[in-house]
Symmetry: C2
Subunit: 556 residues, 2 copies
């Protein structure tokens, strides 16, 4: 057999380890025997490759077309084969027939029995939304009869295909933004992202501070494997920093600090050590969508929403003991094993700060007694310092067992030594933080909030912000008719078509359609342009035939 060499780097002039994972071929059986076998096989393989390529193109195209529609389907809609769901199904069926035709054409000259490869769960549209909330990558992906045998993944496992879907559902628009970012001169028609919670207001200060001389020291220790719990110098600084800024009654202990690459990594790892698969956390919703993503990927912990209700004035109900008790009781009736309560302070996306007495109540609910040994705190610099690109998160836990178990995750979620060093230098410059950074950040946040608030008021778009955070939670229910998640998705897509990213309520497990999170802590000019686009979309959406009973809410 002749071997092809194209494109596969199999030699290295470097002394080091390259790891190669070579996947075993799915078995292909030929009817040809003996001498003919080899050449027939080659033809077959070439053809197979071509068909698979074609199928992949079709599949990608189809997936792109439908994936946004999928997100628009509420569970009820998915039950009814009508509307856009009907369209998707028809398209799927067509694609399926095309793929089969190509396959038949490609293989009829060859005498082999090769079934169409196993279906790609990616094409399971029906289960789309449910997949987002309840799908577990380890389990076989969902299937749908009508699409079977249409699409193919010869390489990804079922879990891999599921992960691919999960990622696309969560990050597709974010990727579009990453590849086509707005720039005043270079790309004025690019995407503006008010959907990702980033604080860009003080990047000038941070950049300047990080460029100072003390930041660029390179000690040899920083270049080598370190303590998987985090560099001791950084853990020491974090203990001191959090003691000070969280006003801890007694000094925090560096041995109980665990450093990983981002708050989501910390949350995911904590869920791994506190819960077994299938266990659950209660979480007040609307809530940050990243929790669901990381839970699906690794820990398999179910997030049970504690629904906060919208009020007549577009504010939201506070988290009360009653609703916590009720949700817990309902969960227990369903035999859920609730292992904890997740609180984000300030609440994301509502921006409310829990008071000391509220926190005590919640902790009492969770454990009958606010027991420091069972309360674990996660903090990061992404929001306070606007350096999400540092990929840094920290756990503080009084519980040594938890701290000890969490160390295991440093191996796969570690932060580079030089980044840990810079963080330490930044956090220990209290004068810069207190005198310059925090006051400037505070006043700029306030100014940015007031600007957005004014624009939204002018548009007569109701919104809510509890007094903190980087976002407003806006009420676009008046623009949905009927007020369904399907319509919410269509509106979201309209924003995206106009190169504006906002986060929609459904991704935040909001109970009710029509809510969006808008980040106001962005570049001043970009926020202005974004709000112009926002206004334009609402104006046009008003005329959209899909919106039958629009309230006359726009006053431009």
């Amino acid at each position: 057999m002749e071997l092809k060499e194209e494109g596969c780097p199999i030699g290295s002039s470097l002394s080091d380890s390259g790891t190669i994972v070579a996947v075993t071929e799915d078995e292909c059986r030929l009817e040809g025997q003996g001498a003919e076998k080899s050449s027939t096989k080659k033809v077959f393989q070439t053809l197979q490759r071509k068909v698979l390529e074609l199928q992949r193109v079709l599949m990608d195209h189809f997936f792109r077309m439908t994936s946004q529609r999928v997100q628009s389907l509420s569970p009820e809609d998915q039950q009814r084969p009508q509307g856009s769901w009907k369209w998707i199904k028809r398209m799927g069926s067509l694609m399926s027939r095309m793929a089969n035709l190509i396959w038949a054409e490609a293989t009829k000259e060859l005498k082999f029995k090769e079934p169409l490869p196993r279906s790609d769960p990616r094409c399971d549209i029906k289960a789309g939304q449910q997949a987002l909330s309840s799908w577990q990558p380890d389990q076989p992906g969902p299937r749908l009869g009508g699409f079977e045998a249409a699409f193919v993944s010869h390489v990804l496992s079922r879990r891999g295909t599921g992960i691919c879907d999960l990622y696309r559902a969560n990050f597709q628009s974010y990727e579009a933004y990453q590849r086509d970012k707005y720039h005043k001169e270079k790309n004025p028609t690019g995407y503006i992202n008010l959907g990702t919670s980033e604080n860009k207001l003080c990047l000038d200060l941070i950049k300047e501070r990080l460029s100072q001389r003390d930041m660029n020291q390179i000690e040899e220790d920083l270049l080598q494997y370190s303590d998987w719990q985090g560099q001791p110098f950084l853990r020491k600084e974090l203990a001191s920093f959090l003691t000070c800024y969280c006003r801890a009654p007694t000094p925090l202990d560096p041995e109980k600090v665990v450093v990983l690459n981002g708050c989501s990594s910390v949350f995911s790892s904590l869920a791994m050590v506190l819960c077994d698969p299938g266990d659950a956390f209660l979480i007040p919703t609307p809530c940050y969508s990243g929790f669901a993503f990381s839970s699906c990927l690794y820990s398999k912990v179910e997030l049970i929403p504690v629904y906060l209700e919208s009020q007549a004035d577009s504010s939201f109900s506070q988290l009360t003991m009653d609703i916590l008790e009720l949700t817990l009781t309902q969960a227990k009736m369903k035999e859920k094993k609730v292992k904890g309560l997740v609180l984000v302070n300030p609440q994301n996306p509502l921006g409310e700060v829990y008071t000391r007495s509220m926190m005590k109540e919640y902790l009492a609910f969770a454990k009958n007694l606010p027991d420091p040994n069972k309360t674990h705190m996660i903090w990061g610099t992404s929001k306070d310092f606007g350096i999400s690109g540092f990929r840094f998160g920290v756990l503080y836990t009084h519980n040594k067992e938890v701290a000890s178990a969490m160390r295991a995750f440093g191996y796969l979620h570690g932060v580079s030594g030089i980044t840990q060093f810079k963080l330490c230098q930044l956090l220990q410059d209290r004068e810069w933080i207190d005198q310059l950074y925090l006051p400037t950040n505070h006043s700029r946040l306030r100014k940015a909030y007031l600007y957005v608030a004014k624009r939204l008021e002018k548009l007569k778009v109701p919104f809510f912000n509890g007094g903190s955070g980087l976002y407003v939670w806006i009420d676009l229910r008046a623009y949905l008719s009927p007020c369904t998640f399907d319509q919410e998705q269509i509106l979201c897509q309209c924003f995206q078509d106009n190169k504006l990213l906002l986060s929609r309520g459904r991704a935040y497990m909001c109970k009710e359609p029509g809510w969006f999170r808008l980040i106001f802590a962005g570049d001043q000019l970009q926020v202005k342009v974004a709000l112009d686009r926002f206004c334009q979309v609402l104006k046009e959406h008003k005329k959209d035939p899909r919106l039958k009973q629009l309230e006359p809410a726009i006053a431009t």
Copy 2:
């Protein structure tokens, strides 16, 4: 109910999000009623806390005592309740009785019915070694009747306890080293680590290069969330770098490059997308222990060893088609679903570089045809550039589906923007790499190898190195009597008692006891001191009564 406030940071003066996971209390039922309930409960809780503390101390102590012994037990030994295994069991039983006694004493004054809390799988010693190779953190931890109810974890899940065990088994000695490192003047009796594969020979060059002006640029983009696949500028540079140094016949495509925080993260994520839980990879052994650790933690992919055999001259058999075919056949007979073959080039710990023709054979075995679309390459800078502290690994795959699925992992395994920038600057300085770094690294590696080889030859310790890598694979079978993994562990512990870390064969899934990996690419002075210690240990070990039939192999 009065609330305690000690030590729990529940307020923040910063505007940002702290996430708190509060764990619900295990249910405690009291018989006391009404007015008495509250004070009885308090007394109960105080006592319970004290007892749990005591149990925890006992448990930690017991675990420390036994965990090293556990590692020394071969599966056969674990079947036979004799020798050190018998001792461990007796200790466990004693501990169990003590804990029960304390519990009874602590509770007899109180009128409540509280069973001893559920057992901690950590105390399951019997399954220790099996756990290391086959335990899956998601499954209930192993149990052993005699120890039940002796130890307690009120907070960790069974999975969490298992992760804790897995980490300790893999990293306990490494942690001891991290906390007590050798330093010529400051800590001459500290640990020297020749167990972790790091190249420290050119840290001076790297440090100097990383301190140059071009490294310290801070662009705002680096401080924000980025493309989860890796910063585009770095992916572009990596494609060009790998095209050049791996001598790829056609230029590699930046869209098929995925950047994560370390090669182990890349391997783990790749296993997630290529395999379903329970699927298997073939891997020639002895092999790097990190593969097993990351497989246990997340992907649940089984590693099936393809055993390489030691030869009379202490070299190892090469990986042949016969042994690959045999292992695959045996795996299929056991109904294992083999999804790929993992090759590390150069082989770690044997240091052999697979030739082009060997690689072609292996790829042909894996897929009937060296198909670039099913061959995925992992590379990192830890070994070639000695910067393991950068936490950087890269996947190159021709398969767009795989590249696409892998993007999902950037969210939880991302690298900080500033680190990505420095890496890019480093890799694009080809003049520095080719003219200064590579030649210097090569000559220093050679010198370091020759020094270690000379010392080992003088000691008459046979060793093997296939011509590459940072390590020699040394044959200490003559120092084990009987030649068991139990004895291997005892010898390993002797090295550690003398503050010297080496990696033992068992952790590398070596078939035969008595082999150790020794890293020669360390600081020159430290390697010298380490070899003095090594020599001392072998000399003393000779007199050890546990070693009955020692070959007179030492000539000091």
